[in-house]
């Protein structure tokens, strides 16, 4: 790459801007007893921070920004958005 040509490209990497979970004001609280393991939260999460482990979702709070999409799509209301610190 010369200094004539620096293209505006960026490669994906985990946490290149630090732990974006600190941007969150609401966090998704899981109630695993209600969960039916449908996987919709995993499918819809725009940040890819939900993993399915032993058929149940696990959220990586280091990078979850608290958008609430998982809570919105959950058909059995097993995810509740709760204010940070409460």
């Amino acid at each position: 790459m010369s200094n004539y040509f620096i293209p505006p490209i960026s490669k994906p990497s985990i946490g290149s801007l630090g732990k974006t979970g600190s941007w969150r004001s609401l966090y998704p609280k899981l109630q695993l007893d209600k969960c039916t393991s449908c996987g919709l939260c995993w499918l819809y999460c725009p940040e890819g921070v939900i993993e399915i482990i032993d058929d149940k979702p696990r959220i990586d709070y280091d990078f979850c920004k608290g958008c609430g999409i998982c809570a919105d799509v959950c058909p059995v209301k097993a995810i509740e958005m709760v204010r940070e610190g409460e």
Binding site: N3, Y4, F5, I6, P8, I9, S10
Partner: protein, 401 residues
């Protein structure tokens, strides 16, 4: 020299379409607007008949035309669009995107006055309002040059140290719709001159994914902008060398960043651009018959601006006269300002007078140019150099008070 050149009667717009065909463009996307329409009509004909193996993407706006080319160019295709005036402004946001993303898109801009009041005639303020966008901006002055410069534009844009989009521009109607004999080079020769497009180093690739144009923090943004500025400066060399190579292979040379006409022994230099440059040659011939040593510099590149060569040729003259078809309201003349700032930075002390003329397609005839030179010479003699550009031929009277 190529003796088998095929000469056709073409308008400037058709000449552009032939150039695009010869350049083997792969993706075309455009929205019609007067006076650009006949370029893309001809191109769609070429595609329909199978004479040009390209995708022609029909869109609902100029913004989408450029956006779809940004997509195509991002994966490495050779791309072309064309527009004018309001269409160019509507395209605006993505015009800047194309340059920032370093995509070698080529666009024809048939210069047309901006509305309101509605106008379809030539005026350079449309393209010059994108002066700072990072696009290389070139001006042709006749149909032949439109063809030659459009082919050269791909070679300039795709240079791996440049990778910037290029706008090739020409005047509405006077060039776009006037038939001229145009020599069409053989495909074989153009294939030698302009190699098949290779994907640029940052072409998107699913096997090695990355994002293009993602958020860049203050710690890196300036470095990316500076690289565009450096590429722009480097383009000065490449515009000249591509013109030279084209001359060797095809037989027509224009001079790169500027075209010179009787400048060496001149006392007075006219600096202009576009089709006024053609009329100005006649004016130079006429004034020389009256023993006035006048020469002409026709600017072919506005970005990058040919500062070095301009200051070199102007430094020992008695008078420079800038004639332009553009205005920066409340700030002078767009071209005059660039010329004067160049002169200041390069220590050129030649008295310089700017004229704003021919806005909205008003004719700038040989007589008009002779008139401007005479008036400017009178002002120099009387020591009455204006601080601001002069508006040439503006009517005064009750209706215009």
């Amino acid at each position: 020299m190529n003796e088998q050149n095929n000469i056709k009667m073409l308008t400037g717009n058709y000449a552009a379409a032939y150039a695009v065909k010869l350049s083997r463009v792969e993706v075309i996307s455009a929205y019609p607007i007067t006076p650009q329409t006949s370029i893309i009509e001809k191109l769609s004909e070429f595609v329909e008949r199978g004479e040009l193996n390209a995708r022609f993407i029909r869109v609902e706006s100029e913004h989408s035309a450029m956006a779809s080319l940004i997509g195509a160019a991002s994966v490495g295709a050779r791309t072309y669009t064309a527009t004018s005036a309001q269409g160019l402004l509507y395209m605006g946001e993505v015009v800047w995107w194309a340059a920032g993303a370093r995509l070698p898109i080529v666009m024809g801009v048939v210069t047309r006055a901006l509305a309101p009041p509605w106008s379809i005639w030539t005026d350079h303020t449309d393209i010059l309002s994108f002066r700072d966008s990072g696009w290389i901006i070139l001006f042709a002055s006749n149909a032949q040059e439109v063809l030659d410069l459009t082919i050269q534009a791909f070679k300039i844009a795709e240079n791996e140290k440049i990778l910037l989009p290029v706008a090739v521009t020409w005047d509405a109607f006077v060039v776009s719709h006037t038939l001229e004999p145009v020599s069409i080079p053989e495909q074989r020769i153009i294939d030698e001159f302009l190699e098949k497009k290779r994907p640029q180093p940052h072409a998107l690739n699913v096997d090695e994914p990355f994002s293009l144009g993602n958020i860049t923090f203050p710690s890196d943004y300036m470095e990316l902008r500076r690289s565009i500025d450096r590429a722009m400066k480097y383009a000065k060399e490449i515009i000249v060398s591509v013109d030279k190579e084209f001359g060797e292979k095809i037989g027509r040379k224009y001079g790169g960043l500027i075209e010179e006409y009787f400048i060496n022994d001149a006392d007075i230099l006219i600096i202009t651009l576009g089709v006024i440059g053609e009329e100005a040659k006649e004016a130079v011939d006429r004034l020389r018959k009256e023993d006035l040593r006048v020469g002409l510099i026709r600017l072919r590149s506005i970005r990058p601006f040919p500062s070095e060569i301009l200051s070199k040729y102007c430094c020992d003259k008695k008078l420079c006269i800038v004639i332009e078809r553009s205005v920066s309201f409340g700030g002078g003349g767009v071209i005059l300002n660039d010329v004067l700032s160049t002169f200041y930075r390069y220590n050129v002390e030649t008295p310089t007078i700017g004229y704003i003329a021919g806005l909205g397609g008003r004719e700038v005839s040989v007589e008009d140019i002779v008139g401007m030179v005479s008036e400017a010479c009178g002002r120099l003699k009387d020591g009455k150099l204006p601080n601001e550009p002069l508006w040439y031929g503006v009517k005064i009277g009750e209706r215009y008070e």
